[in-house]
Subunit: 465 residues, 2 copies
């Protein structure tokens, strides 16, 4: 009987873990580092992410919300997540807009009657012209200030050529995009305000080439909805010369692009269930829809397959995550963000506990960092892991930001956000163009992005945020 | 007369600069940062480096030492340096080897008599076969240890298939290349030591594709010179399956590749003369020759045009460098290093004062860092400039190294060396293959490499090393 108490004591003590030595910082670093290294190895040697991307790009191709291809992509995403070994895969219904590109034409008519095809690419969400098209004089403006200065008397009845220059000297093209995209997004209505009848913009892109960049625009309900198209860098240079030399009599635009009724579509969701009692959720994701040009390879097929890659790697290594890791392939990032909004709405409804969301939607080049959108204490915690990420080539945590799809989650819960930051130099050469195809993505660069996200998910699973 | 002394004093003091406030560290950083920013802007907006690369790749193409194309590249290099505005452009004569790839063939003959073309690519510097070719049994070895274990009794009279695997799990492919290249460089003689009559190697490359990688090999004079060829990843997988299933009766090899007499060629050199009295020289360069496949775009057209870019940017901005900046387009890096050796020999002869050499020969992807080969004090000085480089995406100075062409300079003078380190992930997909073409290089990524070197040259010009 003498032994009874000590044995009981030992059992209780073991249960309460009071004898366990706290693990040293060094030991913790070693443990984490070993797991991250195993994640890197399994992804670089065994990942099928690149092959997934090939299938998505080559057998489905581009996949604008509401299209048949988008529906196929949903099926593909579901099956790919099931094959990756998720504990649970499901579709989250979401009504999406269906914008349909029709025939498009933009033509310069010279003073001498000669014609030149501008090879224009309509902006997403733009209205068409009447069946006859429209014909009007063209007026060049280089920025919003010039538009205002010219005013109604010089703009009314004309087609505005937004000839806003992409400044190549800006080292990070994402920063320059921020300034240029305004002309695409808001330019048509700003011009309509002064009575313009159509808009042609110099593409928001960095390439010196023949590729026009499409992308979302939004009409201000106060003004007429007028057609809007983008032209490539080289075409913009040509048009600029002709306009300035007063060689142009008129410009003709025709388009029958239009919206059709909303379509039922889905966010595609796969989960590895966490072992914690708190049911904390880490969301990782990219968007499944793309613009209706190219193959949506960098934007955002890359992010989609990377997100799936992370779950597959955890599963292959037999890592049982402490927190639930949820991979979301968002629908309709490009022209409505309905998927991102619906995901946050349902999460709120279900009173879910979201501790982090990571988006990968900046292309499939080698990762360099994560942007962070969270409070200072959390940022400091992440910065404390720098040595874990440095060997992966991931060193930069200085930028503020997350991603479009996960923005609504932050609004709903104040969830901390991160965005994967790949090398940014080539992205805006091909963003929203016919050049954004599978061949432009490198297997090892893409996979290193998966490794970076997997490492971050692992660290937050283990250590919280 | 009363004023005389003070005036004299002031004049002397001004001359001796005793009144000059020492510039604060913060102010110095601001000044440097401003110049680096101007270098970035001028290069990203006005550089013709990418267009130079297009011309080199598309009008001259690949340019192995001693070839007509290499001679054209010398002329092109000279003219391009003259047009870049160098103070002095000259050719440094150097005799180079001339290895000529002839017809090449490698064929598997199956037990049932069927034949399969291995699409092999001869290794550079390898001998040909006799006119009849050779036919022998094949034996697979996965590493040098297996070769030794098999020994003369199992190797003699056979063709050795060096089936050494590229470990995809290694994060930095340059580190993996170091281990794999031994089979290409030394494999043929190691096999000949045991009586092998030919060698076929699995390419030293990271791509899962049909591209065979050539590259230098060297015979050990102790053993027979035997022919040696590389096969692609996919072909190696196929050959491995057939060998292990014992489906192969014999392998046939034919080649009439050979050396011709040495040819007079040149290092192409352009200088901006420094304003210092010490005549200190900073060498920057890449190599003008390439393998005789693809277009030598990443290896090393990229390094060539970046080096020229740096001088052009200094000239355009009107920066008069304190030290002489010398751009060297080295000849014969790929199969002899004669250019690098001759450059060091002449420098020694002329008792030149070399304070730094930077090589860019690791591809045209976005820069991430510089390897450093120099003493601790100098390394610390460079590390003190980290904040200047961080905004360029250049953050890593941890690796030891320089470059092949500048190695002899270090041997001659103990000159500190640096190597530009671009993102490494895609390089060994295309290194020494037909895939290394202009289209694989991105303009902005290439130019950011020029920016990084220009910034480093500026810092060392201003602050010494």
């Amino acid at each position: 009987m003498k032994l009874k108490f000590p044995i009981l004591f030992i059992l209780i003590a073991a249960g309460l873990n009071v004898f366990a030595q706290p693990i040293s910082k060094q030991q913790q670093y070693q443990n984490d580092s070993t797991v991250v290294s195993r994640l890197a190895t399994i992804l670089l040697t065994n990942s099928t992410g690149y092959e997934d991307l090939r299938i998505l790009c080559k057998t489905i191709g581009h996949r604008l919300s509401g299209s048949t291809a988008a529906a196929k992509a949903v099926e593909w995403g579901k099956n790919t997540l099931i094959n990756a070994g998720c504990d649970r895969v499901y579709l989250q219904p979401v009504l999406v807009p269906k914008w349909v590109r029709g025939q498009e034409e933009a033509q310069v008519i010279m003073q001498d009657g000669q014609k030149l095809n501008l090879e224009a690419l309509g902006l997403g969400n733009a209205v068409g012209t009447t069946a006859d098209g429209l014909e009007a004089k063209i007026v060049e403006v280089r920025n919003m200030e010039e538009l205002e200065q010219l005013g109604v008397e010089n703009i009314s009845g004309k087609i505005v050529f937004f000839n806003h220059e992409w400044r190549q000297g800006v080292i990070n093209p994402f920063k320059e995009y921020g300034g240029c995209v305004e002309y695409r997004w808001a330019g048509p209505s700003k011009a309509a305000k002064y009575g313009a009848v159509g808009v042609i913009i110099r593409s928001a892109g960095s390439g010196y080439d023949n590729f026009a960049h499409t992308g979302s625009m939004r009409y201000d309900t106060l003004y007429n909805k007028i057609p809007a198209m983008a032209i490539s860098y080289l075409m913009a240079e040509k048009l600029q010369r002709m306009v300035r030399a007063k060689q142009i009599r008129a410009v003709r635009m025709f388009s029958n692009s239009h919206f059709e009724p909303d379509v039922l579509s889905y966010n595609v969701i796969g989960e590895l269930t966490g072992t914690d009692a708190g049911k904390e959720i880490i969301t990782i994701g990219g968007h499944l829809d793309s613009w209706d040009v190219g193959e949506g390879a960098h934007d955002d097929g890359a992010g989609v397959v990377q997100s799936i890659d992370v779950l597959r790697a955890f599963k292959k290594l037999g890592i049982k995550p402490r927190r639930t890791v949820r991979c979301v392939l968002f629908m309709n990032e490009e022209n409505g963000l309905r998927g991102g909004k619906e995901y946050a709405r349902v999460a709120k409804l279900n009173k879910e506990n979201h501790i982090l969301a990571i988006e990968t939607d900046a292309g499939g080049s080698s990762p360099r960092g994560f942007s962070l959108s969270m409070d200072k204490t959390k940022k400091e915690k992440v910065l404390g892991w720098k040595n874990i990420f440095y060997p992966l080539g991931v060193y930069d945590f200085a930028e503020e930001g997350g991603g479009a799809d996960i923005g609504p989650l932050q609004q709903a819960f104040n969830t901390p956000l991160m965005g994967l930051e790949p090398d940014p130099q080539n992205y805006f050469d091909l963003h929203h163009t016919n050049k954004d195809v599978f061949e432009e993505v490198n297997r090892r660069e893409l996979t290193m992005g998966s490794v970076a996200i997997a490492a971050m998910v692992y660290m937050v699973c283990e250590h919280g945020l």
